[in-house]
Symmetry: C2
Subunit: 361 residues, 2 copies
């Protein structure tokens, strides 16, 4: 984190103004939060990262009683032309099928969101299917799936910016008091796009940031790495320009997630980041503004190779070690529970004085 | 895990009969659970350890719809004579003060338990203080604090067995349908006792399993390691007899936790284990019966040195990485939320057929 920041002219007025609206966290609020934490009936710092969580939430949201009780998981869905290369264990038709499963409440993300008391909003930002209007579905289609990145760009720069703007607009629409956002996604073959994007933005070789997605065998894995290498060669994205990388080898849902995060930060809302694809979106956002990382809460450490590299590049650390590799926002939703606990501890615990407990000797 | 087991005659009929009642998990139920998991709308194994959690819970509780909705955190409290050696950052009077804080609902464990929907029961099993009868307090005092282990045994073998029996009786009393237990504790200087106990039962040197507890400085830490070495020398516990080790260098709350776990396993109830002291209790239980580990769910990875060694000796792995070092059951209560999510995923997710989602190609 540093106080100075370089904001490029991205070509989108909404994106530029949102980036300009992002500020460092409020230090004086965080200092007051630390003082309160140190007077609660527990040894100093003994709640570990939970203390850091609530301190940052206080610094993000301001005020004296942090509130993140209004929890929403945003599941961005998009198709990927590169699915035609046989890089996924599932066919492309599963993307719209799973969107319908989300809307019917039968997917893992629905169960976990209900468990933690979060709403689920599904965004069709790039699915190659026409959905009926349904409660819970935000119809924000920018593209009908990306192009096959092994052969050309995922989308135009204009469409990539439109995806980011869509995410920003959603963040603005849901910027209610006490908001906590979580990111999620659905898109067959989107680990391929994410690996290409993370490789470009971190400088790591494709093989170092490519995993087995939903579960491919050795042969398909070798093909997947080759496809990513080819995608980077064919498109030669400008690695100093996150929007160009998103357009060349990314995906609509990845752009939507980047936009949601930027819009959240501009509106002083903390965001819990899910697994590999969500973190790829967060990396795009983070590369556009150095303060973004302070608004982000990593959730789980995915099985997917490349996830840790993307988290490290942003500068956030996960705290759930569950070997998850499902996406949808499942890890982030689960993490929302623990992050909300940190706020309740801050607001509800007794102090040494109020409880009549003797302090440290 | 193995099918044969050697159960020593412990000297307690209740303990012996409880150990005899512990069975391996039901394999056929676990196989049916795996089949159901593989038909839910997600890539195979993509929910990682959450799948393992619910499979074990099914194998523990039997039946087709696992239920752990009746959640209770048991906080065992006891004093430690070794506090006189200056091994803790807090004075011994804090043990009863914190018990009163638990009963008033102002401690961290109260906040987290409310957050996850768990009840809190506080057990005075060894506090050097006379409590009034209060809702939520189980008055089960066996001793008024342990002896100073630097100079002699913590308690008699009879008292150690009584502590274990107390835990077993509490497990029996709360063995309701859908029960999930979590362990917690309070006892100034109980990391000293736990380190001595874990050192004896794992064969690791005291310095390898001793941490800074509630937060002591370098000088006090050196003294603490010396006190533990002295305690093991003075008492020379029989390392092949977990009850002897508990009596010589343990504590009342550690024995209560061991008993609660044994009673839970005998009654087919899963138990979530908190940090270092709770894990020391779980290690005693685990050394008394080889199947115990299958009933246990580790929660978090404590800052306390020696915690991981104790977890490894039992054979369980934590999934929350939050740098906690508070005890009370806070990490276990937080983990209850994620473990309950695994059961809801199993019971509530749609199948590929019911949701009309295409399976793996």
């Amino acid at each position: 984190m540093n106080g100075t920041m370089v904001i490029r002219q991205t070509g989108s007025a909404l994106l530029d103004s949102s980036l300009e609206a992002i500020t460092p966290l409020d230090k004086s609020v965080m200092e007051r939060a630390q003082a309160r934490l140190d007077n609660l009936t527990k040894p100093k710092d003994s709640l570990g990262y939970l203390e850091e969580f609530v301190k940052r939430i206080a610094g993000i949201t301001g005020g004296t009683a942090p509130d993140i009780s209004s929890k929403t998981v945003f599941v961005f869905a998009g198709d990927h032309g590169v699915a035609a290369e046989g890089v996924s264990a599932f066919p492309a038709e599963v993307t719209p099928q799973m969107v319908l499963n989300f809307l019917a409440g039968g997917a893992a993300i629905n169960v976990i969101a209900r468990h933690v008391g979060a709403a689920v909003k599904v965004i069709d930002i790039g699915v190659n299917f026409d959905f009926d209007s349904t409660p819970g579905l935000l119809k924000k289609k920018v593209i009908r799936g990306t192009g096959n990145i092994a052969k050309g760009p995922a989308m135009t720069r204009a469409d990539a910016l439109k995806c980011i703007e869509t995410g920003i607009e959603i963040a603005q629409e849901f910027a209610l008091k006490g908001a906590l956002f979580a990111t999620g996604e659905m898109g067959i073959a989107n680990t391929t796009a994410s690996s290409a994007l993370v490789s470009a933005l971190t400088g790591l070789a494709p093989a170092e940031v490519t995993g087995r997605g939903t579960g491919i065998d050795d042969k398909s894995y070798a093909r997947k790495v080759g496809v990513i290498e080819e995608a980077l060669r064919v498109n030669s994205p400008d690695v100093t320009d996150p929007v160009d990388v998103l357009a060349k080898v990314g995906g609509a849902e990845i752009g939507g997630i980047a936009g949601l995060i930027i819009g959240a930060a501009a509106n002083k809302i903390p965001v819990v980041v899910d697994g590999f694809i969500s973190t790829a979106g967060a990396l795009v956002a983070s590369k556009l503004h150095p303060e973004i990382e302070r608004y982000l809460f990593a959730s789980h450490s995915s099985v997917e190779r490349g996830h840790r590299a993307a988290l490290d590049a942003i500068g956030i650390r996960p705290f759930l070690d569950l070997n998850l590799r499902l996406g949808e926002g499942t890890g982030a939703a689960l993490a929302m529970g623990s992050i909300e606990a940190s706020v309740k501890l801050y607001n509800e615990m007794a102090t040494f004085d109020s409880a009549g407990v003797t302090g440290k000797e």
